[in-house]
């Protein structure tokens, strides 16, 4: 991990904090979409045998959250979320402490057939919420995002505007933390695609009215 004073989020140069809270010039309509970057999230890639009880137990003990074995689902405990990425692959997502989480997992899984890799610096997270957040994502993402199929607590690796993303629905339409009366999503995107995807989303959100948040 880079020294913290050298850390630089992939969207820092867009000056999003300076635009936070303000409506886009020329849009009189109420914001249908709120977007912001959640930089420096801790991401730890975990691989191991899902069917091995010793492995699953060690992970649960280290994280407090059970390992999700159902495809496209997440589990969580407090700040820690675990995403299902494949039959033997998961992500452990924390607000900031990737290396510490990786160390903790590595210690818990010592001697077992498993791999723990800190990948925090590979991606950034774009948070999208609001009444039209789903419509916005649907413009570029081939996933079926209808609440009947994809709801809070689910995740999926897919594409958005041809960029590889990992999508996590954080809140349902009626949930209190979907503050703008719509669903809330976290979109994890590779650093090198982050600017492209942000600008694409910003352009696509223009018709709904966009508010930028600095959280």
């Amino acid at each position: 991990m880079a020294d913290s004073f050298l850390r630089h989020s992939p969207l820092a140069h867009l000056g999003l904090a300076g635009r936070a809270g303000a409506f886009e010039a020329g849009t009189a309509i109420e914001a249908g979409v709120t977007m912001g970057e959640r930089p420096y999230r801790g991401l730890v890639n975990l691989r191991g045998p899902a069917g091995d009880k010793a492995f699953a137990d060690a992970v649960q003990k280290a994280l407090g959250a059970a390992l999700p074995v159902e495809p496209n689902t997440t589990t969580g405990k407090g700040d820690v979320a675990v995403f299902w990425l494949g039959p033997d692959e998961w992500w452990v997502v924390t607000p900031s402490d990737g290396p510490a989480t990786a160390d903790k997992l590595r210690a818990a899984l010592a001697g077992q057939k498993a791999a723990v890799t800190d990948v925090s610096e590979s991606r950034t997270c774009i948070h999208i919420r609001g009444a039209q957040a789903r419509d916005l994502l649907a413009k570029g993402c081939p996933l079926d995002l209808h609440p009947r199929v994809f709801a809070a607590g689910q995740c999926a690796q897919s594409l958005c505007a041809k960029a590889m993303i990992t999508l996590h629905q954080v809140a349902n339409d009626d949930a209190e933390d979907g503050k703008d009366g719509g669903p809330a999503y976290d979109v994890y995107v590779l650093n090198s695609f982050a600017e492209y995807l942000w600008l694409w989303l910003e352009d696509a959100a223009r018709e709904y009215g966009l508010r930028i948040t600095s959280q």
């Binding site: 990425l85 494949g86 039959p87 692959e89 081939p142 996933l143 690796q157 897919s158 594409l159």
Partner: protein, 97 residues
């Protein structure tokens, strides 16, 4: 656009997948005993069938796992999807002209 049922993730859009050609092609057990013609057959020759073809796909923008698909090359209908190492499914006979 095809809707491909990934055996791990469920139905996903074709754009998330990459094609891997014909499935069940076995590498020769004794490669040093092969003639040039047999090598050519192993490396290059594919049936280009009109009808159901067993082929490999990888969910490259999803779970990144390889699997097999029984797909009709004429109608694009996917008859079956099965994981690597699983038995070949029974597929309907096609008698296109």
């Amino acid at each position: 656009m095809l809707l491909i049922p990934c055996p791990y993730c469920g139905e996903r859009d074709e754009t998330e997948f990459s094609y891997g050609g014909e499935a069940h092609i076995e590498r020769p057990k004794e490669p040093d005993k092969l003639s040039d013609a047999e090598w050519a057959d192993y490396v290059f020759m594919r049936p280009n069938s009109k009808g159901v073809l067993l082929e490999r796909w990888v969910h490259s923008h999803g779970c990144r796992r390889w699997f097999n698909v029984a797909r009709d090359t004429l109608t694009y209908k996917i008859h079956a999807v099965y994981k690597m190492g699983e038995k070949r499914p029974r597929v309907p006979k096609t008698d296109y002209v």
